[in-house]
Amino acid sequence: MAALIALTFVVLTLIPVKRFRAGFAGEITGEDFRFGESARVPGHVSIPNRNYMNLLELPMLFYVLCLSLYVTHNVTGLEYGLAWAYVGLRAAHSAVHLTLNHIFTRLTIFAMSNVVLAVAWALFFLKIFSR
């Protein structure tokens, strides 16, 4: 959980870095952000923001699951492994998104991370209600 939170803050930090750099280069002004991001904002500037938003979407289900496992004393070796696999895949996803941005690689990593998370949820649910 802490690793994924750290990743989120790293990506968050890249947003102003990219935006200010583009601002000083004269590509955009503050006005471009009045209602989100205007069409003038170049793709490479909006990518950190997109990845940051992604990191606060499905990972919410990861945090909820981790806390629920913790509270109910159900953190097994398997769940722990799945949690790290999820964080590893999300880190790889952010790395691809912020560098190569190859769509099918990104899609594959994203899909794999979601399968890992869905499996972790399913295992937890089965364990709680098969007692």
Binding site: E57, L58, V64, T72, I103, W121
Partner: protein, 132 residues
């Protein structure tokens, strides 16, 4: 009642989210969108899946209150009912959004669902006050 029952509506909403997530590639691949469109996330109207994003907005407050109820062992029958009502309303909301998408139906369902989660938070905070 077993306080861990509160995990059932949580897991149901998580399952709904994963289910709606499946519509994202289905909608993107089924229509004319090039991979380049999703490079920056700017896909013209209708090709993205706003319902998926919605399911990771307000529901966060639902998961948080559920985990708090679990930790504080206060997940009683009333909270469980409200939680199931919330999940049911969100499921209908998703169904409307992804099928005939009537704006007014969606809005009413969305408002009702938010009211349910609001009540969960309200009852959670009122109770300790009553006990003082």
């Amino acid at each position: 009642m077993d306080p861990q029952l509160i995990i059932e509506p949580m897991a149901a909403l998580a399952a709904l989210t994963f289910f709606v997530l499946l519509f994202v590639p289905a909608m993107r691949m089924g229509r004319k969108a090039s991979p380049q469109d999703s490079a920056t996330g700017d896909i013209p109207g209708g090709l993205s899946n706003p319902n998926f994003a919605d399911l990771l907005e307000m529901p966060v407050l639902f998961y948080v209150i559920c985990v708090i109820l679990l930790v504080t062992q206060r997940a009683d029958a009333m909270f469980l009912w409200l939680a199931w009502i919330y999940v049911a309303l969100r499921a209908i909301h998703s169904a409307v959004h992804l099928t005939y998408d009537n704006f007014h139906h969606r809005m009413v369902l969305f408002a009702l669902s938010n009211f349910a989660v609001f009540l969960m938070w309200l009852f959670f905070f009122i109770e300790p006050v009553r006990n003082v």
